[in-house]
Symmetry: C2
Subunit: 284 residues, 2 copies
């Protein structure tokens, strides 16, 4: 009985989503990135609405198998897992056809379907979601950008903001919003984030988290766009639409906790990063 | 050269701490919990200043090896890793000597040395740190409490707030502050959080994250208080003191980003959870 009590109580802390009311949005196979490591498969939605050139770069490099066999060589607990150019043995040379990219760390707000969060945000005047991604807006400049959240995928760079070309990172923890509008977020993990969390870590204080022992660096066995995989075997995913009644209910369930379990009513706030639109495998 | 550029640029995103100015606080071996799993050793500081009875319960159960051989049977990516009573095969019976505990989810602010964060917080009027732990205060009621952060260790319970007894969870991700003052936080991970992140996950939508396949549940090989380990082999840790000039510099380095890398100046905010006082191995 007691165990059931625990389970029920904790289930109340994560209320079931409302029944689906609108069809979920299918992710185009050109925007679905599939990364396989020793631990399992991680699926990422790329975002050409905010970062078209970065997404095309990832598509091009994936098609030539640039990342296959590289490692996550810089991994810092609670910060980022980084790969793309390697460090030490086997650092790949990027072909000349792939020059540095102009940053795409923000864009005009016009034309975006922005679902307002409805809660204050510490880092931006307006916070919310665009097609499921946590995003923010500055009403004065009319610019919008993707937020750095756990699971965000973005391009590393030198001090010059227009120097990213192939090196990427996946955000592991909170507290990276200070990178917003400084680096270009171009995707987010839809499934398999737990396999990114399993990557071997370096030590931040030692060589900025680069893993000295090459054998401990986890290998990217495959880095492919779903559109380049055989249609019969490639994964298919869909995402809860934003805005939608279902998404509004999802956010409210995280913001307003009226269950008996909460004998003290929590502040009715929530952050965009922690209520990103859920994704799921699509029935093909 | 290019790789060096990347590394330098990314190191700037994580500036080195200021030189130590005050001695770090040694963690008493009675407050140091050591958990060994297949992935490595995780070290946790217990907090009797906020939760004396919960800490004593953990000490007592560790001394009788209650947790040794149990599993993290409910693990949800970005939420919590939970253990203590198991689910299904081998759920242990808690001896009668260990009744449910009265909650210790807040305490009087009087007598606490509170280091104010100096940034706004979404969930509490006053946010900051007490002896390195992220904490918050309500000036009206004169109460203080520990925040739910990634790495926080807390006691699970039934709907009644005074029903926790042995089942604990470690927080994996952000977005759990709504649990503050509803459940009792009694410790935080000082080292080895990456091994908790490697724990096999369940699926939240299936049985609330309980891992159905018992073989996939990661085992707690050892769960010991350092004071109960042989003095020659037990670990020793120390924590940056709060408040201190060094900790103030640490927070400022995370709040104010004046490095060339940030061509757009980020908002000067930070959250208590992401600037908890660093811990390190002590030289014995």
């Amino acid at each position: 009985m007691r165990i059931v009590g625990y389970m029920m109580a904790l289930m109340l802390a994560s209320p079931a989503l409302a029944e689906a009311q609108t069809p979920w949005r299918a992710i185009a196979p050109e925007n679905l990135l599939v990364i396989d490591t020793d631990y399992g498969r991680t699926v990422i939605e790329l975002n050409p609405e905010f970062a078209p050139n970065h997404v095309q770069r990832i598509r091009d490099l994936a098609a030539m198998e640039f990342y296959d066999g590289l490692t996550f060589y810089r991994v810092i607990e609670g910060f980022v897992a980084q790969a793309g150019r390697g460090e030490g043995e086997g650092a790949p040379v990027l072909p000349e056809a792939f020059p540095a990219l102009l940053n795409e760390n923000d864009r005009a707000s016009a034309g975006l379907e922005f679902a307002h969060l409805g809660s204050p945000d510490l880092y931006a005047k307006i916070s919310g979601h665009v097609n499921g991604f946590a995003a923010a807006q500055d009403p004065d400049s009319g610019r919008s950008w993707l937020q750095h959240c756990p699971g965000s995928m973005a391009m590393a760079r030198d001090n010059d903001p227009d120097t990213g070309d192939a090196e990427f990172y996946i955000v592991l923890g909170p507290g990276t919003r200070y990178l917003d509008r400084n680096l270009t977020v171009f995707g987010r993990v839809i499934d398999g984030m737990e396999f990114i969390q399993k990557l071997n870590r370096g030590v931040r204080a030692i060589d900025s988290g680069v893993i000295a022992d090459v054998a401990r660096r986890d290998v990217i066995h495959s880095f492919k766009i779903a559109a380049d995989m055989p249609e019969a075997t490639r994964p298919a995913y869909e995402v809860m639409p934003t805005p939608s009644e279902e998404f509004t209910a999802h956010k409210t369930s995280k913001r307003v906790r009226n269950e008996e379990f909460f004998y003290r009513h929590p502040p009715e706030v929530v952050e965009a990063c922690t209520v990103v639109a859920p994704g799921r495998r699509a029935v093909k």
